[in-house]
Symmetry: C2
Subunit: 422 residues, 2 copies
C-alpha cells in the first residue's frame, strides 16, 4: 500500500475472470449432460467434483435438526434478529401495481408480479456464508416469490454447512438440494425429475458457476456476475486511523483481488492509516490474503480538499463507501455512484454485511455507475396495462394509423382501420 497524491483519473476496475476455453467447454458439457440425463447427471458430477455419492438430493428434516445441534444458540438468535432487520428494510421497497384513469375512459397502468420461482446458489466450503442465504432469499420472499429453491455443494460426508442450513430453516426455505457447480445451475435452468426449473438464479459461486449462469441467461434470468469486492473510505482529520485501517482490512481479508482504498484530504491521517494497516494486518488469521490484497489493490489517495475527494469517490463508483468525516450526512447527497453508503464512524462495513438490514449483494468493479444492490424489484417484473376506450380510439385512431404509415407498417394501420370502419 502506498500514499499517492491524486493527479489523474482513478479507477477500481480489475479484469474480470471470464474463464479459460477449457473451463467453458467443461461447463457446456455439464449443462448438456444435465439437460439430457437429469438427476443421473447431477449425481455423477457430484461424485466426480465433490467426491461423494448422494442418493437423495433433497435435504431432509433430520439433517436440519442436526445442523441446529452444531450452532451455538446465541448465534441462532443473532441470525434471527439479522433476518428480521433485513426483512424490515426490504419490505419498504415493495412497489404496488397502479392504474391511471382518464376522463375519456382510458386506463393505463403497470401490473407488478413476483417471479414464480427463484433458485439461490450458496457456495460450499469456506465461502458458505449464512449471511448470503439471508441476503439472497429474503428479498425474493418479500417480493412474493412462491417457490424458492436453494442449491449448495455437499462436503465429502455429503453434508451442507450447518450455518447455511440453519439460516435457510429460519427463513422457512424447505426446498434445499445437495448439488453445486455448473450442474446445479443446469438443474435450476432446465429442470430434472427432482428439481423443477426456476425463472431466475441468484447467488455467488466459483468460475464454473459464473460461466454456467452466463450460459443459461436468457433461458432464465440471473443476477449480476460479481467481481472481487471493494471498499472506499472517505475520511478527514477527524477520523481515527485505527478504525479506518480496520475497515480497510475487513475488505482485504475477503480475497487477494479485493481492493481497499482511502481517499482523504488529510496527509496526516493518510500516514497514520498506513502505519495502522501495517500493524493490524499482522494480527489477522488471513494475513496472507489481506497482505496480497493491500499490496496489489490497496491505495491511499490524498486530495487537495474534500470536494476533490468526493470527485475521486464518484470516479471510483465503489461497491462499499464509508464516509467518516466531521459531517458525514452532509456529503451523502454529493455521492452519485456507490453500491452502499455507510455514514459516520459507527457505520462500519460489517454492520451492513450482516445486520442493519440493507443488502450486502452490491455492484462491484465500478458498475455502481449503472447497477444497484440486490433488491425486491429484482424478484418482480412489470406488465403494462393498456385499456383504450372507444371514445379515445375513435379520436386518436386516425393519428395512430398515420404514424404507422410513416414507419411503413401498413398492417399496423389496417388493424386500426378495421375498427374505425365499423
Amino acid at each position: 500500500m502506498r500514499i499517492e497524491r491524486v493527479t489523474n483519473t482513478v479507477s477500481l476496475k480489475r479484469t474480470i475472470d471470464s474463464g479459460t476455453e477449457e473451463q467453458r467447454k467443461t461447463v457446456i458439457e455439464i449443462l448438456t449432460e444435465v439437460q439430457d440425463k437429469g438427476d443421473l447427471a447431477l449425481k455423477y458430477y457430484t461424485e466426480k467434483f465433490d467426491g461423494v455419492l448422494i442418493e437423495i438430493l433433497k435435504v431432509d428434516r433430520v439433517e436440519i435438526n442436526e445442523a441446529y445441534q452444531m450452532i451455538d444458540e446465541t448465534l441462532v438468535d443473532i441470525i434471527k434478529e439479522a433476518a428480521e432487520n433485513i426483512r424490515d428494510y426490504h419490505s419498504r421497497q415493495v412497489k404496488q401495481s397502479w392504474i391511471t384513469m382518464k376522463d375519456n375512459g382510458t386506463m393505463l397502468g403497470q401490473k407488478i408480479t413476483p417471479l414464480d420461482a427463484v433458485g439461490v446458489y450458496v457456495p460450499g466450503g469456506k465461502a458458505a456464508y449464512p449471511s448470503s442465504v439471508l441476503m439472497n432469499v429474503i428479498p425474493a420472499q418479500v417480493a412474493g416469490v412462491n417457490r424458492i429453491v436453494m442449491v449448495s455443494p455437499p462436503d465429502k460426508e455429503g453434508r451442507l454447512p450447518a450455518g447455511v442450513l440453519v439460516a435457510a430453516d429460519i427463513l422457512g426455505v424447505t426446498e434445499i438440494y445437495k448439488v453445486g457447480g455448473a450442474q446445479a445451475v443446469g438443474a435450476l435452468a432446465y429442470g430434472t425429475d427432482t428439481i423443477q426449473s426456476v425463472d431466475k438464479i441468484v447467488g455467488p459461486g466459483n468460475i464454473f458457476v459464473a460461466l454456467a449462469k452466463r450460459e443459461v441467461y436468457g433461458n432464465v434470468d440471473i443476477d449480476m456476475i460479481a467481481g472481487p469486492s471493494e471498499i472506499v473510505i472517505l475520511a478527514d482529520e477527524t477520523s481515527l486511523a485505527n478504525e479506518v485501517a480496520a475497515d480497510l482490512l475487513s475488505q482485504a481479508e475477503h480475497d487477494e483481488r479485493a481492493s481497499s482504498v482511502l481517499v482523504t484530504p488529510s496527509m496526516e491521517l493518510a500516514e497514520q492509516v498506513l502505519i495502522e494497516v501495517e500493524r493490524q494486518v499482522k494480527l489477522l488469521p488471513r494475513v496472507e490474503i489481506a497482505e496480497a490484497s493491500i499490496n496489489n489493490y490497496g491505495a491511499i489517495y490524498v486530495t487537495k480538499d474534500i470536494e476533490e475527494a468526493i470527485k475521486v469517490v464518484n470516479e471510483l463508483a465503489p461497491e462499499h463507501l464509508e464516509i467518516m468525516t466531521k459531517e458525514p450526512m452532509e456529503l451523502v447527497s454529493k455521492i452519485r455512484h456507490a453500491g452502499a453508503i455507510f455514514v459516520g464512524r459507527y457505520s462500519s462495513e460489517p454492520v451492513g454485511d450482516y445486520f442493519a438490514g440493507p443488502n450486502h449483494v452490491l455492484p462491484t468493479n465500478g458498475t455502481a455507475r449503472f447497477s444497484s444492490p440486490l433488491n425486491v424489484d429484482d424478484f418482480t417484473k412489470k406488465s403494462s396495462i393498456i385499456s383504450y376506450s372507444k371514445e379515445a380510439f375513435m379520436e386518436n385512431g386516425p393519428k395512430i394509423a398515420a404514424f404507422a404509415r410513416l414507419e411503413g407498417l401498413d398492417a399496423h394501420a389496417r388493424a386500426i382501420e378495421e375498427r374505425l370502419k365499423s
Copy 2:
C-alpha cells in the same frame, strides 16, 4: 397457420441468433480499432459499411431543419402528442429516494440516482422508426439522465432518416452522431475524441450491434437483446374475426420470425379468423414477410374453456397480449406473465406501439416470465444508505462481531471491536 387443440405445453421460444464465429470476430476487431484509433476508426468503418465518408460526425442544426421540410406538419403534431402521452405515463413511474429513522438514531434508506449518460442506438434504413426514438429517449429523460446521445448509421448521401431527426429534435436531443453498427457501440462504450463514453446503451440493432452490445456489457450497461416480436390474442365468441386477424397480421408484418398466436375456447372464432387471416394477408404490401411469419410461427390454439386459455397464455408469457373477451378487464388479474396487456376491443396493439403512453420496448421470447417493459427504473440506480447510531452500534456490535466470526471473517469482527473498545 393451422388450428390446434391444446394438448401439451406450448412455447413461443425461437432460437436466438447469436451470430457466426466470423461475425463475432468482425465485431471484436471493430471494437478494438475504435478503442485504439477513435474517430478515425468510426469514419473508416462508416465508409466501409455505409458507403459514405462522413467528415463531421455530429448532426448540425441545418440537417435538423432540412428534416422538418420532409415530414408532413400533421405528422409532426402527431409525434408531439405521442411524446406527451409517453412522457405522462413514464412520469408516473418515478421513484423517490427514501429514508427510515429509528428511535435509537439509526437511519436506513435508499438513494435513487439517474445514470449520468445514456446512448440510444437507432437502426438505419427501413427499421429507422421515430417511435423507437420516443420510446428509448423519454424514459431516460424522465429518470433525469443528464446526457443522452443518439447514434444512427447514415445513408449513402450521409443523411439520417428525417422522421428520426424530427423525433429527436422534438425531445430536445442535441447530441446526435452519424455512425452506426458495432463501431457506434464501441464509441459509446469506450469514448472517442468526438463521442464521450456513456454508462448504458439501449435501442435495437442488427446482429453486429447486438454482438457489440453483448461484448461491451459490464463495461457499460445494456438493455435486453430483443428477439423477434410476438403477439398472443386471447379471444372468445364475442370477438370479431376481422379485427383479431388484422391484429395478428400487424405483428406478422414485422419480421419473418415474428410469431402471432390466437388462443380461444371458440372453435367458430378460430375458423373465422383463419379465413380472415388468409384473406387480409394478400392485401398487405409486406405480404411475403407476413405470410412467412404466419406459416412458420403462427398458431391458433383452441382450448376447452377460458380458464385453460389463460393457462396457455401464462405458459406462453407473450411480449404483447391482447384480451378481447366479453369481460376483458376481469381477466387481467389472472395474467401472470406478459410484457404488455392490451385490454378490450379498442386496445389494438398499434395503440400501444405508438401513442397511448406505455413503452413498446418489451420482453420477447418468453422472457416476460422475468423481464419488464423498458421503464424509468432502467435509467436509475439505487445506493443503500446506512447510518448507524452510537447507541445502535454499542447494543448490536457484539452480535455483529459474533456473526462475522461464525463466517470465519476475523477482520470483520475486529473492525467492530476497534470501535467497541474505545
